[in-house]
């Protein structure tokens, strides 16, 4: 068993967070950043870092970690490496909830709340539709989720068509993923801690579940409770991420794969590593999103794909080449 450490990823995450704090419309040098972190910076820099940039950077980290963790769990639940956090329609429900809220004139926390309610509604709907089957059979879950997601897609198109023009831009950013509205990252960060706390101790059981229900059951895993647990935890984490920053694509699909390519598929390492790498990737993408074309803001979802696609293809090719 190779002894692999989380330290490099931890340092990477720290570096992206420091970068995210330092870089922006006003750049803060390393010395000034250090002073401010120790509490001896000038008041303007303190305000800029802690009141303006920190919530957004922390929110980006939380959303990325939630998505990567949810993606890793969803891939085990469905026994399919192509699953992502959105495949069962959670993001569609959240988006429909948020857009509905926007149309009704909601703002701020009310939109976050309506997105969260939409996501949970979708989770319960899919669960209600598959409940009577085999222990949450992967195929039925996947089919039901995909169809429910398509239903949400139709509802979203309808809401977009019905919306007044002035709301459209805000709505689109919401659908593509946008972290500029994050004012309170704490619920997201707490949800990351919660997600890790309730799944990391089960990492060895997840390793077995990935090999199929029968094999896992034969080796001593109580399959049905574990599948239920995974389903609701992954959905809750996704709902939290989508409420923070909209439907940011790609992080949940690609980060677990990146980790598997580099560190192997053992969930004892995969779960915390995915959370760290997902957070780091999204902080990096969000920093770019708000600086590349400043003062214009780009949708962060487009940037996660722009960074993730080449990185993933490079690693995939290199790993394939290294095999005997």
């Amino acid at each position: 068993m190779p002894d692999r450490s989380l330290l490099p990823l931890f340092l990477l995450a720290l570096a992206t967070v420091a970068g995210g704090l330092a870089i922006g419309s006003v750049s803060v040098g390393a010395g000034a950043l250090w002073d401010a972190l120790l509490g001896n910076g000038d008041p303007l820099t303190q305000t800029l870092l802690f009141d303006l940039r920190l919530p957004r950077v922390a929110g980006a980290f939380a959303a990325g970690a939630l998505l990567a963790l949810a993606g890793a769990l969803m891939q085990v639940l469905l026994g399919n490496p192509l699953a992502d956090p959105y495949v069962l329609g959670v993001s569609g429900g959240a988006a429909a909830g948020a857009l509905g809220g926007l149309l009704l004139g909601a703002a701020g926390y009310a939109i976050t709340g309506s997105a969260f309610v939409g996501a949970l509604l979708s989770t319960l709907l899919v669960f209600g539709l598959v409940r009577d089957g085999a222990p949450l059979s992967a195929t039925r879950l996947l089919l039901t989720g995909v169809v429910v997601a398509a239903g949400w897609g139709a509802l979203i198109s309808f809401l977009l068509a019905a919306a007044p023009d002035r709301d459209l831009r805000g709505m689109l950013f919401w659908l593509m993923g946008d972290l500029s509205g994050v004012s309170q990252p704490w619920p997201g960060l707490l949800l990351v801690a919660f997600g890790l706390a309730v799944t990391w101790p089960l990492a060895r059981a997840l390793n077995l579940l990935a090999r199929g229900d029968l094999q896992a059951g034969a080796l001593g895993v109580a399959v049905r409770p574990l599948r239920l647990h995974l389903y609701f935890t992954a959905s809750l984490l996704t709902a939290g991420a989508v409420s923070l920053g909209g439907s940011i694509g790609f992080v949940g699909l690609i980060v677990p794969h990146l980790i598997r390519l580099r560190l192997g598929a053992d969930h004892r390492l995969l779960l915390p590593a995915a959370a760290l790498a997902g957070g780091a990737l999204l902080v990096l993408a969000d920093t770019l999103a708000r600086t590349v074309l400043a003062p214009r803001q780009l949708p962060v979802g487009a940037l996660t794909a722009l960074i993730g696609v080449p990185l993933f293809l490079y690693l995939l090719r290199r790993t394939a080449g290294a095999r005997p």
Partner: protein, 255 residues
Amino acid sequence: MKAPLAADALTLRAGRRTLCRDLSLGFAAGSCWAILGPNGAGKSTLLTALAGLRTPESGRVLLDGEPVETLSRRAIALRLGLLPQDSQDPFPASVLELALAGRYPHLPLWGRESLQDIELARHALRTVGLEELAERSVATLSGGERRRLGIATLLCQDPAVLLLDEPANHLDLQRQVTVLSTLRDLAREGHTVLAVLHDPTLAARFCDRALLLFGDGRWQAGESRELLTAEPLSELYGYPLVELAGPNGPAFVPA
């Protein structure tokens, strides 16, 4: 002595079809059972029910005298192991990692595999002739190697009762004989072995007991010597078989 594994008036159905009716049978320690029957007769269904992974339509499965549904999955896995008919590996893993999966029920929640566990896994791989491939990725294995890895995982789990669904599947002739000898030796050491087999010749050579499932609810159990003969086997498969005298017991060929 109480049998480690017993079926008590066990009835299994698939849809409207009855696969086995009122099966009452004790599987004693030290016995090696062959389960034979035509395709779809319910052999795999019976194994999953005996492993407590499928609720029977009626009747009970007893593990050391205790109803299996009252035991936790982990408690069952410490005493009884199952080699499923198929394996799936959608995610990457090394051969050694998969063999080590057999240690799952033996370790506490947060436990890491100890050097002793790794030694057990390597020993299991050696038994099935895969020790050279320990560090290889599972994705690179052939069907037969994959099958032997499944058996290694089961050996690493080290239960008293071993249920194997077509352990000889995908194996070449030499490996079939090696694997079945290993199972017979385990039975001689006091384990209880139940293997679904498709070759009555191998069953007669390595298993001292046989359970025939006819696919319509009827079953027949007994000593291999008496049960594994041309007449009941021909009826079982719905095709005439001829019994020849081989060097290691009877050999059966389709007429």
